[in-house]
């Protein structure tokens, strides 16, 4: 099973706002066991597995702590896999099915994945932190191996032979001696076989994979190209009405007065007020929008800062609450005093928005005090718990279903839309659909934290880094430690007061920390008069990091092509969440200082690759998304209001921003598979910044990168 130190997992979870109760009630699971007919049901108690793998209990567990059913093989041979992970474009519906098919020895198309349905799947912490591949992959593979071994055992009994004499393949167990086969369905003989997995059965090594490890297209692609897939905003319920929430004029505003006399006159419109919450329901979405526009509300809000004061504010308000002590090695002070090269620089990153194309949305339906909600979220069980808390009902009364979702990027952790839809549905006495507008998305969702990063460093003239002092204010501790060997270092994250509601974003602060660190590495390399790649390789002994650097350097013909005025090449790299990445960017900078990224090459290594085609898609997508944060995306705000809450004012990457993208996959079949949804983004911004320096001699230290 996957192992991750409790401390690391707790820190990861904290950064994803997992502060709510991490309990799991699994009463409904037992009802579920009764409902199934014949076939094979594979259950596991993650507790025993966790103990064997050295993981403890308490906060930060990833898998349910009591017995749960993970895999069911029906008599007709259909396999259903149950997981609390959700699909939002990262392609795990396909990659997890590949892993089950591999271990169970069944064809891909015999597998259905039931995902993110709180009444059917085992409890899950949530789909974030690149945890699906390293945790859920081995978990489901373990269940599949257990099922296969059980079926082989049943066949061995039926044929009265040793299990080792039999072969499982293609959904059948074969006895080669008598040249007979029995399908998995036949083997169950109409009985219900329940297998409770204990311990760690042996998984198939990646070197022997036949289905996993192969490029595989999205399993249900046809539903998407025909428009038939139902995302949350597409769900229809009988008698359903449409909801809309009245938003305050600014953050932290309180409602002074409300005049709904005009809105309530509109046909089919109901106005709901509950404390500060005001919303409407109407017969269609357009009427709901117009009814909200007809509400006359007065709000009172305190004076708040603007983006112009943001970075001084973050520093001035740091460490007021709990702060972790710095990570210290050696003496930075002494090493700095002795260093031949000394640098001190400050880097900043702006607040940015996830801007998933499917906005936050929910459909909520009450039957008595039982609540059913469809919503696009990364954390179905946390949303279930959030709803239970909001409406003072037991979690067993709440059923959350997550249709495959129109992306999230770390932005869909909170139950906001679900709670709003449920509140309106309770008042209306009818199912309610609620879809946030783009402006609501840009304003009322949470943001990737802005941050200030200060680095002081010292090195010898031969390019050996000797001192490293690093302070990150507000943006976060992910990937804050340096992957380079530096004997004297002091590294610290300083939480600050949050002027805007902030939360997780693809890669968390790994993007900000890589931007600052890898920009600074470039500055040090130039100060030492060394090639930036050679400088990095000189200061690391991490073979996996060196390998991706060398792989991308080869692709980019690094060192052969020289930067010239207006045309620059930059490099950056690092590792995080088991993924090792190195990125080379090639830019053209016009006389007007406009930057065009013409080519991005990236080498990525995340252990044994499960689906190379899906992985390439993720990496190219992360590169495109990374270009937005690198060059154009920044939330502007003033006094509690967002100043650019529209795609016309907040530029996300478009077709004409697309560079030539070349991805180099490094497949390490000897290493466990790691996730790849996040880390491919981290090298993009620093590689671009370093390329701009190579093209212009100007060092840009703020994301998004803008020439002064």
């Amino acid at each position: 099973m996957s192992t991750i130190p409790d401390e690391a997992l707790a820190s990861e979870a904290k950064q994803h706002e997992v502060t709510s109760i991490l309990r799991c009630f699994e009463l409904e699971r037992r009802d579920f066991l009764k409902l199934l007919g014949g076939g094979v049901l594979v259950c596991a108690c993650a507790n025993s597995l966790a103990q064997e793998s050295g993981r403890g209990h308490g906060e930060g567990h990833e898998l349910p702590e009591d017995i749960a059913a993970w895999l069911y093989i029906a008599e007709n041979g259909r396999v259903t896999v149950y997981t609390g992970k959700v699909e939002m474009g990262q392609n795990i519906r396909t990659s997890l099915a590949q892993q089950v098919a591999e271990e169970l020895r069944v064809p891909m198309d015999s597998i259905s994945m039931t995902m993110g349905d709180t009444e059917l799947v085992p409890w899950d912490m949530g789909t974030f932190g690149s945890r699906t591949t390293p945790t859920m992959g081995p978990q489901l593979r373990t269940m599949a191996v257990a099922a296969r071994e059980m079926l082989v055992g049943v066949a061995a009994q039926q044929w009265n032979v040793q299990p080792s004499a039999l072969v499982a393949a293609d959904g059948k167990v074969t006895n080669p001696k008598i040249n007979q086969s029995r399908s998995y369905g036949e083997l169950t003989h109409g009985q219900k076989l329940v297998k409770v997995v204990e311990g760690d059965p042996e998984l198939t090594p990646a070197t022997q994979w036949k289905i996993a490890g192969q490029p595989m297209p999205k399993v249900d692609g046809t539903a998407f190209v025909t428009g038939k897939h139902k995302y949350t905003p597409d769900i229809q319920r009988p008698g359903m009405v449409y909801g809309k929430v009245l938003r305050p004029t600014g953050f932290r505003a309180t409602l002074v007065s409300l005049d709904d006399s005009e809105a309530v006159k509109r046909s089919g419109v109901t106005v709901v007020r509950d404390g500060e919450f005001v919303g409407v329901t109407a017969l269609n979405l357009w009427s709901a929008e117009r009814a909200v526009a007809a509400l006359k509300a007065q709000w009172k809000a305190p004076q708040q800062i603007s983006d112009r004061e943001l970075f001084s504010y973050l520093k001035a308000n740091a460490d007021k609450g709990e702060s972790e002590p710095p990570k210290v090695a050696g003496s930075v002070e002494k090493a700095m005093a002795a260093a031949e090269i000394k640098l001190s620089q400050t880097y900043t990153v702006a607040y940015i928005q996830h801007a998933p194309l499917e906005p936050r949305a929910a459909v909520a339906e009450w039957q008595g005090d039982k609540l059913t909600v469809w919503t696009g979220t990364q954390r179905p069980f946390a949303v279930r718990d959030g709803l239970a808390t909001a409406f003072h009902i037991p979690t067993s009364n709440v059923h959350v279903m997550v249709p495959d979702t129109g992306s999230a990027y770390g932005g869909k952790h909170t139950p906001d839309a679900a709670v709003e839809a449920a509140r309106l549905a309770k008042a209306a006495g009818k199912p309610v659909k609620l879809i946030w507008t783009r402006e609501e998305e840009f304003t009322w969702a949470y943001f990737r934290p802005a941050g200030v990063i200060e680095i002081k460093s010292g090195a010898q003239r031969d390019g050996t880094i000797t001192a490293w002092e690093y302070h990150n204010y507000n943006s976060g501790p992910a990937a804050i430690d340096t992957p380079y060997n530096i004997p004297n270092k002091l590294i610290q994250f300083h939480p600050s007061d949050e002027p805007l509601r902030q939360g997780s974003y693809r890669g968390l602060a790994a993007t900000a920390n890589h931007f600052a660190r890898e920009s600074h590495m470039d500055e040090l390399a130039h100060a030492a008069g060394m090639d930036p790649l050679q400088f990095r390789l000189k200061n690391t002994t991490d073979d996996r990091l060196s390998a991706v650097y060398q792989a991308v350097a080869e692709k980019a013909a690094w060192g052969k092509q020289k930067s010239t005025m207006g045309h620059g090449i930059g490099i950056a790299g690092g590792f995080e969440k088991g993924g090792h990445v190195a990125t080379v960017a090639e830019v053209e900078v016009g006389r007007d200082k406009s930057v065009r990224v013409v080519r991005v090459m990236e080498a990525f290594e995340c252990g044994a690759i499960v689906n190379p085609d899906g992985l390439r898609n993720q990496i190219a997508g992360a590169i495109m998304m990374g270009l937005g944060g690198a060059l154009s995306e920044a939330i502007r705000f003033d006094n509690g209001r967002i100043l650019n809450p529209h795609f016309s004012q907040y530029r996300v990457p478009r077709f004409n921003d697309m560079p030539q993208i070349e991805v180099v996959l490094v497949d390490r079949k000897d290493k466990p598979s790691a996730g790849a949804g996040e880390t491919p983004i981290v090298g993009v911004a620093p590689a671009v910044a370093n390329a701009i320096f190579a093209a212009t001699g100007e060092r840009l230290r703020s994301m998004p990168l803008k020439s002064s």
């Binding site: 992306s407 783009r438 998304m625």
Partner: protein, 155 residues
């Protein structure tokens, strides 16, 4: 206002305020939910449909402008149970991640290929630039449009 719109070859008689966006008529009145809301301002292309063969943003097309026009949505591209070559090409290139933008992308590509038989990559980028794929699947989408062009040539 009471009027008829023709969607995917079928007439629908509707009584709605004239400023009702076509997007919400398709989705809420006709249950054609393949056309997506992304921004409501014509900035992202998720709601793209064909109106008299041209790509338009249905979120900023009022009912009054759609009356009497032939409208085709993603649900109307299949013919006799066969996918449109652009749909086939998106499948072949696996040109999506979350796929929320896919309907709009496919419709924009269909409109492009109906006016320009063999667009260059630059023409594809230009024609599709109003469609956002936040997952950043642009290279594969361009490859899919190119693929559909090739398929059309062979056909």
């Amino acid at each position: 206002m009471a009027a008829t719109i023709v969607v995917n070859g079928k007439p629908h008689h509707l009584t709605l305020p004239p400023d009702t966006p076509l997007l919400w008529i398709l989705r809420d009145e006709l249950q054609l939910t393949g056309t997506k809301y992304g921004c409501g301002e014509g900035q992202c292309g998720a709601c793209t449909v064909l109106l008299e063969g041209k790509a338009v943003r249905s979120c900023i097309t009022p009912f009054s402008d759609a009356v009497g026009k032939r409208i085709v949505t993603i649900e109307g591209l299949e013919e006799n149970g066969r996918l449109h070559p652009v749909q086939e090409a998106f499948l072949k290139e696996d040109a999506f991640q979350c796929a929320y933008c896919t309907s709009g992308m496919i419709i924009s590509a269909v409109a492009l290929l109906s006016s320009t038989k063999t667009p260059s990559d630059a023409e594809i980028v230009h024609a599709m630039n109003g469609n956002i794929c936040r997952c950043g699947t642009y290279p594969r989408i361009v490859a899919a449009v190119r693929e559909a062009t090739q398929a059309a040539k062979k056909a």
